[in-house]
């Protein structure tokens, strides 16, 4: 009899336990469903703590997250109190101990436990009695937080409560990780949007389309290495016949440099119109900057005033890499005259240089990002290499020159993409100013115009050979020039003019101090897509043409004009002994 009573009692207890388990499981399921419904971290913390408090029949719960950088636990919510952030070092208090050891604790009387931090109760006015505290792990078994439940309403926390808290902590882990990632992504996006806006503001401060006098052409580019940069240029009209052009570089990159740059640019716009001497303008700018430049930052600047009516450039260099002046005969010269960097010495004196400016002359201004562009092995592009590229391309229009220089820099550092697609290591700025050539025959030039017939080829070859010999090319180089010109003219006849004998091909042979240049111009739209335009033509017959031009010349520039297409072949002149000039 007593046995059956015992059995009945046992069954009753088991039933009670089973019911409790079912309640916990139902609650867990509910928790899982609710938790996956939000990505808002604050809301999620609230939900989790509500669940824990309710299901464990406790007075209060706190979910701490681990701040790995500071090795602290933090929580933004304590229920029934206002929302505020609590922080405690890993290792102190119950939660800190759980974070340190990774084990669950179930304390019946908090005040008897040496790990208890009474300070918290003192501050909050809450009296902690018993504590259940469990770690939360992420999927890679790293601790991400701690759940702490306080004061069971009747008695103390049981073994089942422990199991429930462990199960709940597993359930919340994934939701927490998602919410944390989501929060980080939002913060990053917000930052990116702000930087994007800053970049737009900065770009809008640079003059985009500059129209100078009819005989002046300008081409500019400014590519920041970070979203915003410390480089800038400006074109400031002074009066009807004078225009100021500046290029500047603030040491440092990113937002601080960009802010200082904007400051300088606005100062310069006020100062420039008041001076017809660039050195006076720079002195005045320097004075206004001193005391305003944060320690550790400094500014270098080139400022030139162009006298359009008289044909002079006045240029002042304040600690900046030199401007490069290329005269119409292709000779380049660096311009250094000026003074020290800006913003350091308030009473610094500056001087400027006066350069006559003639048709065909080019002025190139740049920032150190160009000459300091580095290969992986640490070799820099350098002033010498830049000067060579400028000399080689000085007969091109400024836009083409700019492209050629950027391409050369990009190729040098081993970039596969253009700088527009992959940002440079340092800000890159380039301003090219050219006094247009009224005629392209200022050099020692010879012309040959032929109708579009391949019967003319022998004449072309003969003329090229004579030109090459006359200017000292040896047998091998003569052959290569002949080959390149021959191929370019064939392309012009067949693809450019489509064999129409009424369309002519103009060939101009130019001799420059360091190079021979041959320009071949037709009336077509270019031969970069011959397969599209000549679908029936066997590619085998023509595909070697451009290859041969490129491999036999130092440069092959393709230029589209409104009335046709031009190929410019350049052969650098090397004076070496006969037969030793294999490339």
């Amino acid at each position: 009899m007593s046995e059956s009573i015992n059995t009945a009692q046992g069954l009753k207890t088991q039933l009670k336990l089973a019911r409790k388990k079912i309640r916990h499981l139902t609650s867990l399921l509910e928790a899982t469903n609710t938790l996956s419904s939000t990505l808002d971290l604050n809301r999620l913390l609230e939900l989790i703590m509500d669940f824990a408090t309710k299901d464990l029949n406790a007075e209060r719960s706190t979910l701490f997250l681990l701040d790995r950088k500071r090795n602290e636990l933090w929580s933004r919510i304590a229920q029934d109190l206002e929302i505020r952030e609590i922080r405690l070092p890993v290792g102190t208090g119950f939660a800190g101990w759980v974070a340190k050891t990774g084990s669950i604790i179930n304390i019946k009387n908090a005040y008897e436990d040496p790990r208890f931090n009474r300070e918290i109760d003192k501050k909050s006015g809450f009296r902690t009695q018993n504590v259940l505290c469990a770690p939360i792990w992420n999927s890679s078994k790293e601790l991400i937080g701690v759940m702490q439940v306080l004061n069971k309403k009747h008695g103390s926390f049981t073994k089942e409560d422990e199991e429930f808290l462990i199960a709940l902590s597993k359930q919340v882990s994934l939701s927490l990780q998602n919410a944390i990632l989501h929060r980080d992504a939002l913060e990053k996006k917000k930052m990116e949007e702000e930087i994007k806006l800053a970049k737009e503001i900065q770009a809008s401060l640079l003059p985009q389309k500059v129209d100078l006098a009819d005989n002046l052409e300008i081409s500019t580019t400014c590519i920041p290495c970070e979203a915003v940069g410390g480089d800038s240029y400006d074109v400031i009209p002074i009066d009807r016949t004078h225009v100021g052009i500046s290029i500047a570089d603030v040491s440092g990159k990113g937002i601080p440099a960009a802010l200082l740059m904007v400051n300088i640019q606005s100062a310069m716009r006020v100062i420039a119109p008041q001076h017809d001497s660039p050195s006076m303008a720079v002195e005045s700018l320097n004075k206004s900057l001193c005391g305003n430049v944060p320690a550790g930052l400094f500014v270098t600047l080139l400022y030139c005033i162009l006298d359009i009516s008289k044909g002079y450039i006045y240029l002042c260099n304040a600690g900046h890499p030199p401007a490069i002046f290329v005269s119409h005969n292709g000779k380049a010269r660096p311009l250094y005259r000026g003074g020290v960097i800006l913003g350091v010495m308030g009473d610094a004196k500056y001087e400027h240089e006066k350069i006559p400016y003639k048709p065909g002359d080019t002025l190139v201004m740049f920032t150190d990002g160009i000459i300091e562009a580095m290969k992986k092995n640490g070799d820099a592009f350098g002033l010498e290499r830049l000067t060579k590229v400028i000399e080689k391309t000085s007969s091109l229009c400024p836009d083409d020159m700019r492209q050629a220089i950027l391409q050369e820099v990009s190729r040098f550092i081993g970039n596969k993409m253009s700088f527009q697609d992959s940002p440079p290591q340092d800000d890159l700025t380039l301003v090219i100013l050219k006094y247009k050539n009224t005629a392209s025959t200022d050099f020692a030039a010879e012309k040959l115009t032929i109708p579009s017939s391949i019967k003319e080829m022998r004449k072309v070859d003969l003329k090229t050979e004579r030109f090459a010999r006359k200017h000292g090319l040896n047998r091998l180089e003569t052959h290569r020039l002949c080959l390149a010109v021959h191929e370019a003219v064939l392309n012009a006849i067949i693809h450019g003019n489509r064999g129409n004998p009424k369309c002519d091909v103009k060939i101009i042979f130019e001799s420059h101090p360091a190079s021979l240049r041959v320009s071949i111009k037709d009336h077509g739209e270019g031969f970069d897509a011959p397969s599209r335009r000549h679908p029936k033509r066997s590619p085998r017959t023509r595909e070697w043409g451009l290859d041969l031009m490129k491999s036999s010349m130092d440069s092959v520039d393709l230029r589209k004009h409104h009335d046709g297409f031009e190929v410019i072949l350049t052969k650098n002149i090397r004076r070496r002994s006969h037969g030793k000039n294999r490339r």
Partner: protein, 114 residues
């Protein structure tokens, strides 16, 4: 004007090309002659280019086309005593690594016996 001469010696076709091998003059002649030989099954070709005055992409294209075709038919096209302009164009196009050249006609002919 380009001159193309063909001589058959055993299973080897000996072709002499001289003058301008260019689109305006000799490249199509060279292409036709070489194609003809390959069609007749004479695909072991020695091409003597010692007297070539100028070769452009078209002439070079013909040479490469026939080299490929001869190889495809189980033969080969080998160059004998190329002029310096031919050597240069082979080196500019890097085809000197692919098409075999010999200093003399005899060497080129003998190479087929190996």
């Amino acid at each position: 004007m380009a001159k193309i001469g063909v001589k058959i010696s055993g299973d080897i076709a000996l072709v002499h090309a001289a003058g301008r091998i260019t689109l305006d003059e000799g490249s199509s002649n060279l292409r036709e002659s070489l194609r003809g030989l390959i069609e007749e099954g004479k695909n072991k070709i020695v091409l003597n280019l010692s007297k070539v005055k100028f070769m452009d992409s078209s002439g070079f294209g013909a040479l490469v086309e026939c080299y490929t075709s001869a190889r495809k038919h189980g033969g080969d096209l080998r160059i004998a005593s190329p002029s310096f302009k031919v050597i240069d164009i082979l080196s500019l196009t890097k085809m000197d690594k692919i098409i075999k050249s010999y200093n003399s006609e005899n060497e080129a002919i003998k190479s087929f016996a190996k």
